[in-house]
């Protein structure tokens, strides 16, 4: 792939967004009926489906904890989610992301309400265009909320990157590939808590502070959309005549 012009002369990004602009975010909750909870989240062309089962008993007794539930999380990319076919076997990257997403959810889920149980979160990336882990965090926490599992807050993810020396919000695949830095962040906005912070590439201290601020701003926008999606599920049901 040829290196595209990431920042145009007019200061806009390769897809016409302002540096602090999100891709169009679409959220729908409760899209599956066999799972306890589910959510479909789209950040631009990135599309992620999350389903939650449980809390439930599992046969693997040695995993269970006496004082709280365990969360088991699987992040997986579908074979057709990328340009070239992705092998369905969980890769090193997917196993790592599963752990990272699980750890970003654990601080908000009130697992102490279900001792000796397990909560299963399944995440499938349907279409990957950068920012799949952040979209996965958002989808997973909405699916948990849809399952009625008590949570202190909804976690939303958003990434900040640096391309051509400019800090940009919600980077896509091209910007991630040719940019200088990529920083995924997951935030619980009401609690003012950051539950995931990774940084790939190099940022100065000042740039980092600026990037985090940008991420928090982006997260609060997504948070608003996410809350509205949870609510609209109930607004939609009207009295049938």
């Amino acid at each position: 792939m040829e290196r595209p012009r990431l920042i145009r002369e007019d200061g806009l990004r390769h897809d016409g967004r302002r540096p602090d602009e999100l891709r169009p975010v679409k959220v729908s909750v409760g899209v599956l009926n066999k799972a306890s909870g589910s959510a479909l989240v789209e950040y631009g062309a990135t599309k992620v489906l999350a389903a939650v089962h449980g809390p439930r008993e599992i046969p693997l007794r040695h995993l269970l904890l006496p004082d709280r539930a365990i969360i088991r999380c699987r992040y997986h990319m579908l074979t057709f989610s990328t340009h070239e076919r992705k092998s369905p076997v969980p890769s090193r990257r997917e196993i790592e992301l599963s752990k990272v997403i699980r750890e970003s959810l654990e601080p908000v889920v009130m697992t102490e309400m279900f001792p000796r149980a397990a909560i299963d979160v399944f995440i499938e990336v349907i279409n990957a265009d950068g920012g799949t882990r952040t979209a996965s965090v958002t989808a997973a926490s909405l699916a948990l909320a849809d399952a009625g599992i008590p949570m202190r807050d909804i976690v939303v993810g958003v990434a900040v990157g640096k391309v051509n020396g400019v800090l940009v919000l919600d980077i896509d695949e091209v910007e991630d590939m040719f940019g200088e830095a990529d920083m995924p962040v997951a935030v619980a906005p009401s609690l003012g808590m950051v539950t995931l912070l990774q940084l790939n590439g190099v940022l100065t201290r000042e740039e980092f502070a600026e990037a985090l601020k940008l991420a928090l701003r982006g997260a609060s926008q997504i948070y608003g959309i996410a809350r509205e999606a949870l609510r609209s599920n109930y607004m939609k049901v009207r009295v049938e005549e």
Binding site: G54, D146, G148
Partner: protein, 244 residues
């Protein structure tokens, strides 16, 4: 605040919906952070300004057993001296043979599968549920025991309260309007026994309607209207059905 209808707000996890000093009547669904009160599930929050009390009715969620709850369970395993019963909770429940049969059993001489086999349905009460072990059921009590007849409707456990209604009003309506026997278990399984198939269909449709529209006010009146309309549609005129 309004006097009669309590003020309800639709809340989502992480939403601070009250500030000040309140008592929390539904712990687990509301947490306190500083002097703010945060909802932890999607639900309807109710603020009682007089009693300084907050409550939250969840709209989603699984069944969490509590002592004295009436439940309908399916036997999933037959043990030496007890059965394991699925009650739609995060944990399978235990029903001891001593309790069910009312006498001690000798596992060497008796096979518990003769009394309750896998797949059988029992109406039971939760006797105890402690955090360190699974719920224990009891079938001692009027009408409890193996279910041999009727239809079971499954709804979301959090909507059970609406099928019962305030002081049992909805439950009375369902039974009174159709002449069916309706047993509402806390875990979202409802046993329906009806004099005929048409009435059974109506009750089931009414229950599913309650589940769908649980969060919209004026439910009892709508359900009553619905039942009457369905009865007219099927040629079971109101007066006739009531004599059942």
């Amino acid at each position: 605040m309004e006097a009669q209808e309590p003020h309800r707000i639709l809340v989502v996890p992480g939403e601070a919906f009250a500030e000040g000093d309140y008592k929390i009547s539904t712990p687990g669904y509301i947490i306190r952070a500083g002097n703010k009160y945060i909802a932890t599930v999607v639900g309807l929050a109710q603020i009682n300004e007089e009693g300084k009390e907050l409550s939250l009715i969840p709209l989603e969620g699984c069944y969490v057993p509590q002592a004295e709850d009436l439940v309908i369970g399916y036997v999933v395993d037959v043990g030496m001296t007890s059965w394991e019963v699925d009650i739609r909770a995060p944990f399978t429940a235990v029903l001891y043979a001593v309790d069910f049969l009312g006498r001690p059993v000798n596992p060497a001489r008796e096979d518990l599968g003769d009394y309750l086999a896998v797949g059988d349905t029992v109406l039971a009460k939760v006797e105890v549920f402690e955090r360190n072990r699974g719920p224990i059921l009891t079938t001692k009590g009027k009408g409890l025991g193996k279910i041999i007849q009727g239809t079971i409707v499954e709804i979301s456990p959090v909507k059970v309260a609406r099928v019962i209604g305030r002081k049992g009003s909805m439950h009375q309506l369902l039974e009174g309007e159709t002449g069916c026997e309706v047993v509402v278990a806390r875990n979202g399984r409802i046993l329906v026994r009806c004099p005929n198939r048409e009435l059974e269909d109506i009750v089931i449709m009414a229950i599913l309607k309650i589940e769908r529209e649980a969060h919209i006010p004026g439910l009892t009146d709508r359900v009553k209207e619905f039942i009457i309309r369905e009865k007219v549609k099927r040629g079971l005129i109101g007066g006739e059905a009531k004599t059942n």
